[in-house]
Structures are given as structure tokens and as C-alpha cells.
Symmetry: D3
Subunit: 211 residues, 6 copies
């Protein structure tokens, strides 16, 4: 076994689309989501560091970059299934852990196993970096759902996702970076135009009258 | 609650793609798959009926048409997860049953509940119609994987899917319709061209020489 | 000739898109449309049966499932062409019948010809099942056009399609299932949200104020 | 009525895909096809002019650019339908002519009607420019089908299209531009690589050995 | 070297999408854009000719059809880069000219070089045909941006593009065809519906009440 | 100005496709590419660290994650343009630097400017991390081009890209991680199947004979 299979598998994450089963104007792959979450985590890390927190940057990048890799062998299990009972949730977590461990032992060369065991384990722990990941994951989800609503997607599921994401983010409101998000970023998002139709006629009148 | 939500949900099945996580030349939605499985079941039913079997056509169509509807609220759980342990498999089946029952009781008007309880339960039972569904589901999967291999898809997963599908089909070899498939249909599939490149030069020579 | 070609041809119906020539947010294939029409016919059949009508379920499923198969060799002839003159309409119907009959005699094994001659003939006759098919075909078209209008598609052709579909459905208003559709389903469709933009700001305020 | 509708309708030609009903690696819209046919006609016109023929360039560009515009209101009628009987063929041509004439009279302002009546009539007449259009239309079709075969498309319909296109082109072999195509262009097309797999290993060996 | 490579390259223009980096409801390829610009130039030419101007139709078609061909080897250089300094702009123009000249000398047979040197040079000169091309290019861009705004695209870049296109068009207001566009076409564009939602409920009420 | 615009701009990178102008079986966005390059850099960093090198992980992740962000305002300038003359190359680099600096000063809040000035500057310097980025960028490009060739893409440009990527990688052969890539990863890549067609018939025979 070797790292060629691992490199090849990165492309698989480009072919898994998020939120299957709903009409969407824009598709987001797990690969692109992972990129955006890592970018968001980087920005949240800046805010924490500026506020005097000690950020373990290696841990932060590592957690964010790898947090959805195992979706490749687990698949997309819908939330109502995953959270049906505490026992089931635990069993699914165990299977996830087993499949991941099997992957590490059977697919990765010995010299990489320690690093990937850390990278592919649950990153959303109680460390500052784990908490930043929890927030960053939801910030991207909030932007994805906002993007649909802003473009006129009538599916109420995106309003639900927006609500649930914001809820989770607010749960971390003791963090400086979350306060920053709520005070300095969210208002700009809500101030966005939803359409540019009125502007169009004004522009046209202004330009054609001037001639 | 009313049937409008049910009609609307049929479109969701057009947006769930099969086998996420692998490069494919052709995408197949759950809606299109359900159409094809029902068509295949219809053909297998013809063969059984021609051979003197009594086919309950209402049951056959109903089983095939509705067999993947619940994927909408269950999601795509990968095989290694689903079959990790017998307990987990049972628990997932229970959750599936619960979610389906909730859907029937809360989303469907009373007068439709009996019919949809039957339609949304597991159709692959030991009846002739249940067995035809088991075969038809795998015949479509075999055609889907063959379509990829024939077009030159190098991902070995499609060879695996082809193998596994054929295996399951052969397990029903006591059925006349399976014997027909293996003797009269599969050889034609394997006799298909994989490319038409050689033919091209011959055609060109023949046409341009004649002029 | 054998049934392999028939099974293969089912995939062709996945590549024919409905209503070519207009911008659409969502594409619908003939395969997915056939699935949805069969689902809708199934629901309309339930309503008729609940109201005491005798439904021939085999005929109903068969008519709905196969009603657009021949589009594969006929193609998409625009309505103004098809209805230009009664003579032309008749001639096109004759060609359709001939091509279908040729297909049955030359492409299908003898033992399947009776069944497919019935399945591939015009299903929209005056039987209860034929009338349900007429309605189901238009209900799906109405949902497809509504889906575009709801998402903000400015092409007036979809308003035309909606109007024409509803018109045809209302023409069958003596049927219990049509009355049910007009009284219990259509109002829910019209009560749908067209956008979720206002809700978004309220949700945000409610969640962020609470913190 | 005004030219705004005409300008808007050009976008409709971007949404009509050629050869619906077959799996394709590449989709070609009627708009892109019209561009390519006009480019090919331009090149064939050069060859004729270089050979001393008098080319009416306005007529040539006009014929090529507009030759498929009416597909917008006629739709895609499959060849076996169109050619079923001479009477039907004539009737379809009459309907086409009527719809086109209606469009010109009802949708276009008076001052444009003469020009568009000429542009939207059948361009493939016996003039040099009409004959160049006949050839250019088939050269693009030949390239489209070759592109599919070269990429490994196993559908035999593309071999059929290639054959039929080449046949029609060869029928115009008295034209200098067709002789040029057959002698100087077609051999290069047939000399194309179908895959670059062997080359890959050689390149790799050469580069990695050199290090 | 031969014309086969040139014919093949036309397909490359089908795979270059305009305005990368922004969400769009509709993608437009360079090939389709070239088709539309040539159609628009043809219409503007009609207006000029009707007003008594002498139009060189060969030059007009040639300029419009080929005006973006060189994008194939230049790529998409963003406006702020292109216009950063006059020196840079001149240098980029020189590189463009060199690459084009290399292409003509090395890729095209001698007998085509004069024609393609003319066709692939900058077409937007001060001749009537060059000015029509300048306008036609912006009319298509204006329609593309309007199409996005009308469908509800919230990206402000399309309002910018609309504004900038209209600005350029108005700069040619001494041309009869531009006056025609501003007086007879633009008002119809602005009078377009942005949604058909209100109409839907009225239609429904009217049809269902009538029954 | 605020960070909302920055978060929104991450989605723009999902809509920029790499290598426009060539037929591809798989599209890769700049966002997904950035994810993969960061993953590859992480793996190469492991190898260097295992070999006793001191890796600055924050710098490595930061360089890889952000290395193509500025493509958003620069665009895709084709290689022959970029490398036409040393002066032009320098001028383009200056414009790139200016646009980036403008973006930082005008779009980003003061407290983020130092971090983003570092992140958005050229990352491919002579540090170990800069050299890893140079290699990782080419490894992903090599995998992208290999993916096309393996699927049967006949465009020779992908062979060129493969060759050029491998060349650049080999230029860093003094690095342990490059030696690892050449000895342990590249041979596995070249040993990949290009098709699974032969295997298919064997599987079929084995399974159907056993029955």
C-alpha cells in the first residue's frame, strides 16, 4: 500500500456534493468546502491571536483541512438517522472510527500512520482550535445556505440550515472570534442586495438621458 | 398535511445522484433509476408469465416504482457502514422503519396511509414479485457499471459493482427470468463494441475510394 | 435481436431533456418524467379507488410507465408543427405508429411483441386509466413549470405551460381525482413561498438577540 | 413587435443541444454549431476563391449564419420521421415555411422582413454558396461525431453519423473545396492520436532517468 | 501544418466560458458569443443600410465572426490587469499580435495566410463595420448581464457590466443603428417581466373558477 | 470594508475552472485545487520531517492554502503571454503585486493586513516550505493531467502538462520528499489500469460458470 492511493482519493472529494436531495443553484463539493472551512478557520485564528489568545496554527490548519476526509468511506448519513438514538449515534461513531483505523493501518505506509491517525480523528474537541473548527464549519454552511436564499431558492430547507448554523455559532459566543463574526461580518451579509432590478432602470435612465 | 408535499418530493429524487464519490461519465438520479428498475421488472415479469408463473402485476409495479423513495430521508449510507455489525444493520433498519412510519403518519393524509405503508416498506421479500425486484435492481446497477467500463472509466470500483451485481443475480438462478437474462441478454451486452476506432478508418477508406 | 437493446435504450431516455430551447433552472429527463407521471398516476388511482371506482392497476402502471418511450425514435416535434393541420397531425400519428410497429417487429423477440404493442400504443384513451394518464402527464408538467416560476424564471413560456396544463386538467373535472387535485393539492402549491428572504432577517434577529 | 424579441431568441439557440437521446462526452448547442459552420464555410469559400471561383461572400456568410435559426420553432424532428414518405416530407417543409413566414410577418418590424425572409429560407440551394453550406454543415457534423469516437464513445450512432456525413460530402466532390478537404484535411483528422497512454510511460522514463 | 488543426480549434472556443469567477445562471461560451455578435452585427448592418449607409457585408461578417478567435491562445486577462498602465497595455497588445502572427505563419498553410491575417487582426477600427462590431460586442454583453439580473443574480458585477456596456454603446450614438437600439430595442428589454408570480395566481383563479 | 467580502470571495474560487479552452472529462476549480495542493504539501511535509528536516508547519499550510487566491483578480493569463519577454513578465508581476496590495489596503480591515500581505505574496520562495509548495502545485497538476490521459482524453495538451509538471518536480530532486515521490508514488500511478475491459469478461465467465 502506498500514498498514491491517498493522493488519488483527494479527487473523490471533488465528486461528493453536499446536501444531496435538494435543488440548488450552486453545487459545493467536499473538497471545496474543506478549502473554505480552512480559510475561515485561518481568519478566526487571526482574530483570536489578535485578541491575545495563543493559537496552535499547525493544529488549527490540520483540523480544518482534514475534517471531512472520512466522508469518503462513511457516506452521507442524514441527520435524523444519525441522531435517532444515543446508542445508534455511538455505534455509527464506532463504525466511523473502525473504518478510519482500518484505512490507516491497511492503506497508509507505517511512517504516516501516527500523523493521519491524529488528522482523521474527530477534530471538534474542546481546545481553542477544535472550537474554531466547530464555528468555521458552520460559518461555511451559513454562507452556503445564504447564497441559495439570496438567489431566490424557495426550498425551506435552506432557511432551516441557516437557522441551525447560526444557532450553533451563537453557542460559542464566549469566543472573541464569534463576537467579531456576529458584530462585524453578519450585518454585512444581511445588508447584501437580493436583486439588482431597481438599480438597472435607474442606471439606464441616467446613461441614456446624459447622451 | 397533504399530498402536495409528496408530489413535490418526487423532484428531490431527481437531485440525488447514485454512487457519489466516484468519477463517472454518466450521472444517474434516483428518479431515473426507479424508472429503469420498473421497466426491467416489467420485462422480467413478462418472462415469468410467459413461463407459466402467476405474476401479481400491481404488486410488481408498486414494489419497483417505490423501492428507493425512502432514500430521500435516509440518505446514502455506504455498504461497509451498513453491514459493519448485525446489530448496527438492525438498528439502521429500525430507524429507517421509524422515519418512514413518521413520514406516513405526519405527512400523508389518512386515506393514503395504508397504501403508502405497503409501498414504502421493504419490497424485496420472498414473493415472486419481491424476488423480481431484487434482480431488477441489480440488473440496472450492472448496466450502469457496464456503461462506465465500456466508456473507459478506469476506476476499479465499477468492476467491483459489476461483479457484485452479477453475483447477486446469479443467486436467483432458479428463476426463469434470471436464466433468460444470463442466456439471452448478458451475452449481447458482452458482445458490445468498446470503441469504434478501427471501423472509422475502414469506413473512410471505403467511401473516399469509391468516389 | 434481443432485449439487451431494449434495456440499453432505457438510458437514452435519461439523455433526452424536456422543453429544449428555453432557459431552465432545472432539467428534467424523459426517464425522470416517466417516473414522476407513474407516481402521480398511482396517487390519482388511490383517490379513484377510495371513491369506489374500479381501477385496473396493471393497465394504469403500464400506461404511465411506458407513455413516452417512443419519444426516443420520434423526437421532440413542437406543438405548432404537430397541430398545424389535421392531415399533418394524422400523418405524424401514422408515422409514429409505423416506427413503433417496426421497432416491435424488428427489435423485440417474438414472445414480447404482444405486450409491447399494447404498452407502446397511445395510452390516453377513454378508459379510467387512460384518463388518469392524461391528467397525471399534465400534473407533472404543471409542477415542472411551477418550479421554474417559483425560482424566478422570467421566460413567459412557463406561464403558458402552467396555464395550458391546468386547462387540460380542469377538462377532466368530472373525475373525483381531479376534484381532489383542485381542492386539496393546488391550493397548497399556490401557498408555497416564493422566497425566504424576509424570514432570514427575522431568524437572525431572534437568534442573535437571545444570546 | 420589435427586434428585442429577436435578440433574446438568440439565447434560445444556446439551450438547444444537438443529437438528443444519445450519451455524449461533449454537448454542442445550435448556437455553437452555427458559429462553427460559418467558420467552415468561410474556409471553404477561401479555397474556392483561391481556385478562381467567384464567391458571393455576403450570401455565403448569411446562409451559414442563419441556416438553423428556425430550429427554434420547428424542434428536432428525427430523420426517420422526416423522411417517412415524400408527402409527409413536403407537408413538414410547408409547415416550416408557414411558421417561418408567420414569424417574419408577426414578430419582425416591416423594415427587416425582406432580409429575414431571405435569411430564414432554405439556404442549401444549387448556387456555389448553397453547395458550400451543404458541405460545411456536414463537415461540422463529421467533426462532432469524430470527437465522440476519438474519446471512446461506444454508441454506434456516431459511426453512422460519421459515415453519413462523409457520404454527403463526397457527393460534392466536383467542388475544389471538397477535394481539398478530402486530400489535405481528412488524412490529418484520421492521423490523430486516440489515446496518449503509451507516450506517458516513455516521457516518464526519459525524464526520471535523466535526473 | 494544415487546416485540420484550425477546424479542431473551433471546438476549443466551445469550452471557454465568459466571465469566469462569478456565479451565473447561464454559461456562455466564446463560440456562442461569436455567433450572437455576428447576428447582432447583421441586424445593425440592416439598420445602417436601410438608412442609406453603404455596408461592406463581407467585412462586417468577417470582423464579427472572428473577433474573439485569438482568445484561444491569449486567455482571459482581467480588465484591471490589461489597463494597469499604458505601457503594459501596449506590451500585451504586442504579445497578442506576435502570438497571432506566429499562429498564422506556423499553423496555417500559405494560401490562407493573407485572409487570416486580416481576420485575426483587431476588427474594431474606425470603419463603419469596425464601429458596428464595437457596438454588437457590447449589445451581447448587455443582454448577457441583463439575463442574469432578470433571473435574480445578486452579484453586483452584472450591474457593473450592464452599466459599462450601455456606456460604450451610447458613445456611438451618432450611428443610426445605435439610435435605433436605444429607442426601439432597449425600452422593450426594460419592459420585460422579472417574475411571473402574480400572474400565476390570477391564471389559476380564472381557470378554476370557470370550471 | 470588512471580512464579509473576503468570505464571499472564497466562493468565486469555486467558479474558476482550471485550464479553460480544452475538453476535459473532469473540471477542477481553483478552490478544489487549493485543497488538494494543501493536502499534498502536508504529505510532503511529513516526509521531510520524518527525514529529520525542521518543517515550519504554519508557513507550509499558509503558503499552500492561499497560493492561488489572487487568481481571482488577475485572471488566467496563458503561459506564452506571461513568458513572452522578461520585461512583460516583470510588469505583470508588478501589476499582480499592485492589485494585491490595493486589495489588502482597501478591502481588508487594518488588523488583518499584515497576515494577508504575507499570505497573498508569492509563496514559492527558496525556503523548505516554499520549495514544498512548488512541488505540491506540480504534483496536483500531474495528477489532473494523468486523470485525463487515463480516461482516454486525446488532447495532446495533457501529455504536455504531464511532461512539464514532472520536469519541474524532478528539478527539486535534492529534496527527500521528491525522491520519495519519484520512487514510491509515481510507479504506483503508472501501474494503474487504463481500462477494465478485459477483466469484465473474465469476471463474467467465472461467475456464470460457477452457478
Amino acid at each position: 500500500m502506498g500514498m498514491h492511493q491517498y493522493l488519488k482519493s483527494l479527487s473523490n472529494l471533488e465528486t461528493i456534493h453536499r446536501a444531496p436531495g435538494y435543488f440548488k443553484y450552486e453545487e459545493h463539493s467536499v473538497a471545496a468546502h474543506s478549502f473554505k472551512v480552512t480559510q475561515i478557520a485561518q481568519m478566526l485564528g487571526d482574530i483570536e491571536e489578535n485578541a491575545g489568545q495563543k493559537v496552535d496554527w499547525q493544529a488549527l490548519y490540520e483540523k480544518a483541512l482534514n475534517h471531512d476526509y472520512t466522508e469518503r468511506f462513511i457516506g452521507d448519513i442524514k441527520t435524523p438517522v444519525k441522531y435517532a438514538t444515543p446508542t445508534l449515534r455511538q455505534m455509527l461513531a464506532d463504525v466511523d472510527a473502525n473504518l478510519t483505523e482500518n484505512f490507516i493501518q491497511n492503506e497508509l505506509p507505517a511512517e504516516f500512520q501516527v500523523a493521519y491517525r491524529r488528522r482523521l480523528s474527530e477534530g471538534k474537541d474542546n481546545s481553542l482550535e477544535g472550537r474554531i473548527l466547530s464555528v468555521a464549519d458552520k460559518v461555511d454552511l451559513l454562507y452556503e445556505s445564504f447564497g441559495e436564499i439570496q438567489k431566490g431558492n424557495p426550498e425551506s430547507v435552506f432557511t432551516e440550515i441557516y437557522r441551525e448554523s447560526l444557532h450553533t455559532i451563537v453557542g460559542f459566543v464566549d469566543m472573541v472570534s464569534v463576537q467579531y463574526f456576529l458584530q462585524k461580518i453578519l450585518p454585512d451579509l444581511l445588508a447584501e442586495n437580493f436583486t439588482n432590478q431597481e438599480e438597472l432602470r435607474q442606471i439606464t435612465r441616467r446613461i441614456t438621458d446624459r447622451k
